[in-house]
């Protein structure tokens, strides 16, 4: 599906990946996350990766919110002790408060995603991989997400985001890459790339 993709992302850069459905955006993120191995070529990443495509990975409906936080974090490689220190922040960020002792099956879809997102952004990753998750939650939560992204950018963390929301790319990304036919069709200034990508639909 992907063939001959060359992409070099510098530390502290925020790169938006755009392209049509099925062009390989998610596959690219999975390759970066080390979930898949390329048939040819190589992927190298420096530092710790937190895949936001792993939002709520391993969440179980019968476990409480709190139990799920620890399960999810341990799957991403974090110890209970490391999470305990961040637990209060996670609860506050997710805005779930008193429902942390409620089994997840009683959560709304938005609450579940918020909880997963809250865990992921509190792991202090060097590289954050985001797969179309910003379109969830109410507007208050979206604002918190955006603030959090800004802060991560300021802290010099690297963010690779896959999205269909072009205003997001223009607003947040320092750079954009357009994937088409398994290759990088354009790479550079977000405004230029988005304009050319949208033009391809006409």
């Amino acid at each position: 599906m992907l063939d001959g993709v060359t992409l070099r992302v510098a530390r502290g850069e925020t790169v938006g990946i755009v392209g049509k459905n099925g062009c390989g955006k998610t596959t690219l993120l999975r390759l970066i996350a080390g979930i898949l191995r390329p048939d040819r070529g190589a992927v190298s990443v420096e530092g710790r990766v937190a895949p936001l495509l792993a939002l709520g990975a391993g969440f179980h409906p019968d476990l409480t919110g709190e139990e799920n936080v620890y399960l999810n974090a341990s799957i991403l490689g974090f110890t209970r002790r490391a999470m305990r220190a961040r637990f209060a922040d996670i609860v506050e960020f997710a805005g779930i408060g008193e429902h942390m002792q409620t089994p997840l099956r009683y959560y709304s879809a938005g609450m579940t995603v918020r909880l997963g997102f809250a865990v992921a952004v509190h792991l202090d990753p060097d590289v954050l991989l985001v797969d179309e998750v910003l379109a969830v939650g109410d507007s208050g939560f979206r604002t918190r997400c955006q603030e959090r992204f800004r802060r991560m950018q300021e802290e010099g963390r690297t963010i690779v985001v896959v999205t269909h929301d072009m205003s997001e790319v223009r607003e947040f990304c320092m750079r954009a890459a357009w994937l088409a036919d398994g290759r990088v069709a354009a790479d550079g200034d977000p405004d230029d790339v988005v304009t050319r990508y949208l033009a391809s639909y006409r």
């Binding site: 599906m1 898949l36 895949p51 990975a57 179980h60 139990e67 991403l76 110890t79």
Partner: protein, 283 residues
């Protein structure tokens, strides 16, 4: 040395392992209405039925000791069968997770073996206590029981790794495993003793099955009060080591294929749901 690598992976991911086991136990026992009842009730029922119909299949045992021998044997058997039945689906059941996070796959089947071990421990404790009160009492040879459990754990983990891989690569692996498991049940002396087997040739073949030794060994340790035979223990342990190594190699070799296979089936499902079509993920 895939086996060593797998052991290293499991040690590094012990936190994940612990949480997966905790999840399994919470879901199975704490948040379910009949969890404990099923865990203990089923082996008790099975034992009752066998004791009602087949005590003659162990010549020289009275009905009461037959009941304890069957119960212990059934628990040992059930540990193997239950773990394998869950392990064959465990990777497919976590396809979502495997498509999202990079982690050593062995953690999943291994967590199954650990959480089912708790099930076995509850049952065996009941068996030992029952035998102490109403059976042959507490035997001096009880020290050998943990040894046999260790050997069985090794056997079950190795087998779980193997069937977990098969479960991804072949869709009907679960049915195949169920059939083989049933045949193996009749070939393992759970409710009969080996000396009733009429054909000498078959009698000699039976001990090839490592579970044969585990079942007889646990019974000797708990009910009969006989110390373990080194040859039997060594033979079963060797089987365990070989299975664990083979399972580790299989998991290691197939890991990328599994990730791709499970990622693909997931994206196809989501494509079907959203009504769009996608090209196949790999060439």
């Amino acid at each position: 040395m895939s086996a060593l690598r797998v052991v290293g992976d499991l040690v590094r991911h012990r936190e994940m392992l612990r949480n997966l086991v905790r999840r399994d136990l919470v879901v199975r026992y704490q948040r379910s209405s009949f969890g404990v009842l099923l865990a203990l009730g089923v082996p008790v029922l099975v034992t009752t039925v066998f004791t009602a119909f087949f005590p003659r299949l162990m010549p020289g045992q009275d009905v009461r000791s037959y009941a304890f021998l069957v119960f212990i044997g059934y628990m040992a058997w059930d540990y193997f069968a239950r773990s394998i039945a869950i392990a064959v689906d465990v990777l497919r059941g976590h396809a979502n997770l495997i498509g999202k996070v990079a982690f050593p796959l062995a953690v999943l089947p291994f967590s199954v073996c650990v959480s089912v071990l708790v099930h076995l421990a509850i049952g065996l404790t009941l068996g030992v206590a029952g035998n102490a009160a109403f059976g042959s009492g507490v035997q001096a040879s009880l020290w050998a029981a943990p040894l046999w459990l260790g050997v069985e754990f090794l056997l079950v983990s190795g087998a779980a790794f193997l069937v977990a891989v098969l479960g991804v690569l072949f869709r009907d692996a679960a049915q195949l495993v169920a059939v083989l498991s049933m045949l193996l049940f009749y070939a393992t002396p759970v409710f009969w003793s080996p000396d009733i087997v009429p054909l000498a040739a078959v009698r000699e073949l039976l001990p090839l099955n490592p579970l044969y030794h585990v079942v007889l060994g646990l019974r000797d340790a708990i009910v009969a009060g006989e110390p373990p035979r080194a040859a039997a223990l060594g033979y079963a342990a060797a089987w365990g080591a070989v299975l664990f190594a083979a399972g580790s190699v299989a998991l290691h070799r197939a890991r990328w294929r599994i990730a791709e296979e499970l990622g693909r089936s997931r994206s196809k499902e989501s494509a079907r749901r959203s009504g769009t079509t996608r090209r196949a993920r790999s060439r």
